[in-house]
């Protein structure tokens, strides 16, 4: 095969199209990027990632800036032009692309988007930004949405739930997340993995929060880290590494991972305790494939089942579980630093829908738990409505459920369960509660 060297211009065009699809069609960067970066070399793929993630992260700020630069807002059908201008402003402000290169590249892009009329608009807007940069940026300080790059509804919810911590939550949501590994303790211990990384010249350190966690300083390509092919480690944030520990599965236990894909926690449960009978369930067949791939790479075994967890009549064989992990579908507002597009994809109205889905799942799975058994409820949200309030409503309605207090030194104590806020312990935002059947 002959290489097709992509120019920066064609990568910018791909970035505009990808991010427009997030804004206009509600697709996530996670689902769009694998196809978009097909055929790009390492450098091109890195540029595409930087442009799309960066502009999504700062999009509320860039959009506020844009509104100060144009005479009237762009029409909905010109979402691509609006996104192109975000990207141009992003390159100018965050990437140190030379001013002239920004202007030239994005003016040229108008034609490639099939909108030659936008050349003048793009040219005038970007030039005006360069002329008035200082005043414009200073004027954003009064606008909380622009300043925090979070939508207004989310700021309102965060400040209601976390009156003292909400500025640091927003700040952490804009930070770049570190790469965290989970050492596969079936294969080697954390010291051996740290030695291997050090031999490969990669700066890394143990993470205080979880026994198997390693934090990589700086950028690294996961596939190139030592032992990747041999299943020596997985990539998983340290907060997510607490789930299997809290579940505390013992030899011979029957265990359910109810919303398992992509399988990080399923694999961790087995790494900690291989002698369990584990069912790894997910409603998406394609995502369940990822669970199977991860199991295979790490040389672990679990039964994978494709089903809607709450539809127990359809998949449960009537044998009770000693342990259930419910890593519930949630808003993912605790992981904005890893998935910056979430702030564009979520709507205020999603939250009550998610909360009732979470309660439904808890109630549907509870009868499957053996007396004395333990259920761990987890989300990567920071909203009380999805976390302690769901658990509270469940406890009120369920006479044979009691909460096991979390006697740990991480996170914040909630009415029920504990919350790690984003950035706290250098971790993603995560919520945990432990419920036991009496």
């Amino acid at each position: 095969m002959r290489s097709v060297a992509k120019s920066d211009d064609s990568i910018r065009l791909t970035a505009v199209r990808t991010l427009t699809s997030v804004v206009a069609d509600g697709k996530s960067l996670g689902e769009l990027l694998p196809a978009a970066r097909q055929n790009l070399d390492t450098r091109g793929a890195a540029l595409l990632q930087e442009l799309t993630y960066g502009a999504a992260r700062w999009s509320y700020r860039l959009d506020a800036l844009l509104l100060k630069l144009v005479n009237k807002p762009l029409r909905n059908r010109d979402a691509d032009v609006r996104v192109a201008l975000w990207l141009g402003l992003y390159e100018a402000e965050y990437m140190r692309t030379p001013d002239y290169a920004v202007t030239d590249s994005y003016v040229r892009l108008a034609k490639k988007l099939g909108k030659p009329w936008a050349r003048g608009l793009i040219n005038a807007t970007i030039r005006k930004f360069f002329r008035e940069r200082e005043t414009l940026l200073a004027s954003l300080a009064e606008d909380e949405v622009a300043e925090t790059a979070h939508p207004a509804w989310l700021l309102k919810m965060l400040s209601a739930d976390w009156p003292e911590q909400h500025p640091s939550i927003a700040e952490a949501g804009n930070a770049r997340a570190p790469l965290v590994l989970r050492v596969n303790r079936r294969q080697l211990n954390r010291t051996q993995m740290l030695d291997a990384l050090s031999t490969a010249g990669i700066a890394a350190r143990p993470h205080e929060l979880a026994d198997d966690a390693i934090l990589i300083d700086g950028n690294a390509q996961v596939e190139r880290l030592p032992g990747y092919e041999n299943g020596h480690f997985s990539v998983q944030d340290v907060a997510a590494q607490l789930a299997a520990v809290l579940l505390d599965a013992q030899t011979g236990h029957r265990v359910l991972d109810a919303c398992a894909a992509p399988g990080g926690k399923t694999c961790h449960i087995l790494e900690l305790q291989p002698s369990v009978d584990l069912i790894s369930l997910d409603s998406s067949a394609s995502r369940l494939l990822r669970v199977e791939e991860n199991l295979a790479r790490l040389d672990l075994t679990a039964k994978t089942v494709c089903a809607d967890a709450s539809d127990t009549a359809n998949w449960w064989d009537g044998q009770p579980f000693d342990r259930i992990l419910l890593d519930a579908p949630c808003s993912a507002l605790g992981v904005l630093r890893r998935r910056p597009d979430i702030r564009r994809l979520r709507r205020e109205s999603d939250i009550p829908v998610l909360a009732s889905l979470q309660l439904d799942l808890l109630q549907a799975l509870w009868p499957l738990l053996a007396p004395g058994g333990r259920l761990v409820y987890a989300t990567c949200s920071v909203l009380r409505r999805e976390n302690e309030q769901v658990v509270g409503r469940f406890l009120d309605a369920t006479s044979d459920a009691r909460e096991v207090p979390l006697e740990v030194d991480w996170g914040y104590e909630c009415l029920h369960g504990r919350q790690i806020l984003p950035g706290q312990h250098e971790a993603d935002g995560f919520y945990y509660a432990i419920l036991q059947k009496v």
Binding site: M1, S3, P34, N39
Partner: protein
């Protein structure tokens, strides 16, 4: 090491289906070295034995920027694939032609390395595309086969014309 001649479309030998390698011996390793040298010289990022007129299931690939990460695939098999994406492709056997082709976005494959050891690997991005492109060669398939008949005929005519002065 020696540079090998690359067959140019529409050479019929590009349609041959290559035979599996029985054992990875020194003759295979010489072929691998020659193919790598030929690929780097071209310059290309992947080359299948079919393209140099050798009817064996042997592929070399290097998609790294610094051209220092050669990958050897003997008897490659694509085990699973997921997603899809469209990207521009070019081929050392079809000079000057670049067209969009739809392929799986992520694959898992198995192959033997230059020591005859079996390995499995997950690939996405350019590597995934390149493996699919090269495995196609071993099955006598070219990226232009994915295009419309009209487009393919136009390319064939263009290639036949440009071939004569060579």
């Amino acid at each position: 090491m020696a540079l090998l001649d690359i067959l140019i479309y529409p050479d019929n030998r590009l349609r041959d289906i290559a035979k599996p390698v029985d054992g990875v011996d020194d003759s295979v390793r010489v072929l691998l070295d020659d193919m790598l040298e030929t690929m780097y010289e071209a310059p290309g990022i992947g080359l299948a034995a079919t393209q140099v007129g050798v009817n064996r299931r042997v592929v070399v690939i290097d998609v790294s920027e610094d051209k220092n990460t050669p990958l050897v695939l003997i008897n490659p098999e694509i085990l699973s694939s997921a997603g899809e994406g469209v990207g521009e492709e070019g081929c050392l056997s079809i000079p000057g032609i670049y067209e969009d082709v739809k392929r799986a976005a992520e694959i898992r494959f198995r192959a033997l390395d230059r020591n005859g050891e079996s390995y499995e690997m997950d690939a996405d991005g350019l590597l995934a595309v390149c493996v699919q492109h090269e495995v196609d060669h071993l099955d006598g398939k070219l990226f232009v086969d994915y295009l419309s008949a009209l487009k393919r005929n136009r390319i064939r005519k263009k290639m036949q014309k440009s071939e004569k002065p060579r």
